[in-house]
């Protein structure tokens, strides 16, 4: 099994067929094409998107349906083409694609980028960060908005 260096988790091994290919990288990281989705039982439901080309680059993500069970995925024709999916219909989460939302940790609490989910074609492991142009979803959706008011 191939092994990769990571900043956060040290050296970890991964299944070769778990490698994801982003043909155009991600916005802000256009040259990073190869990632591996890493899961640990103790941090479920988080999915770490670890770059194979940069040990320091790791996104924290989670399945988008765990954040919003009614999330409506809308992938542009251009992105469907990159994924190798037919342009005629929208892919179904879980059946055709894996759909992850990128998390940020802010002082006010964690947020999820619902505007631009990571979409992975389950059949060929090709992936894009699909920016939905006419989306009403927030790029900073508060994961635990009630937490700010909790007294300790």
């Amino acid at each position: 099994m191939p092994v990769m260096e990571t900043k956060n988790f040290g050296q970890i091994s991964f299944e070769p067929d778990s490698e994801l290919e982003f043909p155009s990288g991600l916005p802000g990281f256009d040259s990073r094409r190869r990632f591996v989705a890493v899961r640990f039982a103790e941090s479920d439901p988080l999915v770490y998107l670890q770059s194979l080309e940069d040990p320091e680059l790791c996104f924290i993500t989670m399945p988008i349906l765990a954040v919003d069970p009614l999330y409506k995925l809308k992938v542009s024709g251009e992105d469907l083409d990159q994924l190798g999916l037919p342009p005629a219909r929208q892919p179904s989460i879980g059946e055709d694609v894996l759909c992850l939302t990128v998390l940020s940790v802010r002082e006010t609490g964690p947020t999820a980028n619902l505007l631009a989910p990571i979409v992975v074609n389950l059949r060929n492991r090709r992936a894009v960060q699909a920016v939905a142009p006419e989306s009403e979803y927030s790029h900073q959706f508060a994961l635990m908005p009630q937490e700010a008011s909790v007294c300790s």
Partner: protein, 74 residues
């Protein structure tokens, strides 16, 4: 903000170097052509938001990760 009315095929000039053409007007969207110097970045606003969000997300340290996990399990 300056607001101008334009028909399909008409053009707006910004300075000497930038030309914006209303290429097509559909029912709910317009196609806009932009001619600008090569060194001038032209991106849709949401692309800029996503880029900034990715840069912020990638900056999360391992300690943030464990805090986040603790919260999710809390």
């Amino acid at each position: 903000m300056l607001v101008m009315s334009r028909r399909q095929g008409e053009t707006i000039l910004i300075g000497d170097d930038i030309e914006i053409v209303i290429a097509h007007i559909g029912r709910s969207r317009v196609k806009v052509g932009i001619r600008a110097p090569r060194q001038m970045p032209v991106v849709a606003r949401e692309m800029k938001l996503v880029r900034e969000e990715n840069l912020a997300a990638a900056g999360a340290a391992a300690s943030d990760l464990s805090r986040l996990v603790a919260r999710l399990h809390g």
